[in-house]
């Protein structure tokens, strides 16, 4: 515990620069909303962005390795499959650089709301209807955001 803090102190000793320089912020801001970006929410830097850009094979390989590692570690990846429509990523095809998501019945429209069931049961109702079809989505064509496993609250 204290070793970690000590290493942090040692690694900063005598250095005044911060991890992300101001000029990099503009580059990061330019990336927001670009398809093919993967944004990882990070407690130090705010968020870290990776890119699936076929023109940058080295970065693409790095992004692939990071995605595979995050899935292994229980990170939650969310993919914007259509503008404003997000799905949780269930897997990743490393050979084809594709996220795997499940389509759900709600993709074809909202669940009917005529019966006014008890609110607590609504979620349960939806769980039962979750019979998704796996679908592969090229990582270079969508926005993705990754969140670390939750520590409760």
């Amino acid at each position: 515990m204290m070793a970690v803090i000590g290493m942090a102190l040692a690694s900063t000793n005598g250095e005044e620069e911060t991890v992300i320089a101001t000029e990099n912020l503009e580059q990061i801001a330019d990336l927001i909303g670009e398809p093919g970006t993967l944004s990882i929410l990070n407690c130090g830097a705010g968020d870290v962005r990776l890119c699936f850009d076929p023109a940058k094979p080295v970065e693409m390989e790095h992004a692939k390795a990071v995605v595979q590692d995050m899935i292994r570690r229980g990170y939650i990846l969310m993919i914007e499959i259509e503008p404003g429509q997000w799905r949780r990523c269930k897997g990743f095809d490393p050979e084809r650089y594709e996220y795997i998501v499940l389509d759900t019945p709600s993709d074809f429209g909202p669940i009917a709301d005529t019966a006014e069931p008890e609110p607590e049961k609504i979620v349960v109702q939806n769980i039962d209807k979750r019979r998704g079809r796996p679908r592969k989505i090229p990582a270079g064509s969508v926005k993705a955001v990754s969140v670390a496993p939750t520590g409760g609250g």
Binding site: L9, L25, G33, C43, I111, N126, R130, G152, G153
Partner: protein, 241 residues
Amino acid sequence: MSMSSGEITWDQVRTGLARIADKDSEWAGIPLPVHGIPLVIEPRHPAHVLNGFCFDDESITRPPTDDESPPRLVNQWFSYRHHATVHVCDDGPGTRRFHVMLPEWGGSRLQYWIRTIGASSSWDADAEWRALESLQSLLTPSQFKSYLLTGSFLETSKRSRVQYLFRKLRPTVAMRGDKKGGMRILAVLCLHPIGYFSETWGGAMVPTDDVIGHLLLMRADEHFFWKKSNIHPTWAAQAGI
């Protein structure tokens, strides 16, 4: 905000932790502990060694003695009669039991509020700005204006028609309209990636990153969002209502 010698700043510590996290491929970073408010960390996270840790001038220099060991919690419940949480404790097996009653009133919320301000020294203001930019790209202009001005915004799930009130530094409130034109609270959903600071509304990440996590989880997989969240009773200080 400098440490005791004045030579090393919290920003430098934060930078050092970011470098360690980068070196160890810890993609979500390592939370920065603060003074007097223990961290609660997700058990699988490598920084789990920081669970329960906070900076404390005395605890850094000497280990706690047996006399300082906290009481053992035997049972706890909420008393509607006293509007308080009753804790039954002892000092270990075979010792005399005693109870402590903590009233759930404005004072508890004020304590959460002030401790949350204490936790804010863990966060980087630049990171919060970046999170705001990210959030803006995810919201409608009116939602983002609402967030900027009130620290909260509403969104109705297209799937379940449940209305969510997403709040900065507070759990998300799930509501549904009743038949009398009002709203009924279904649940208060609390979730912090990596971890959070004990007895605060603050997580390991900057406040708006927590909001982004809630929002995208709700949009992407509403059931999973409910499953992963802790549900606080509306009267509890944790709920922030």
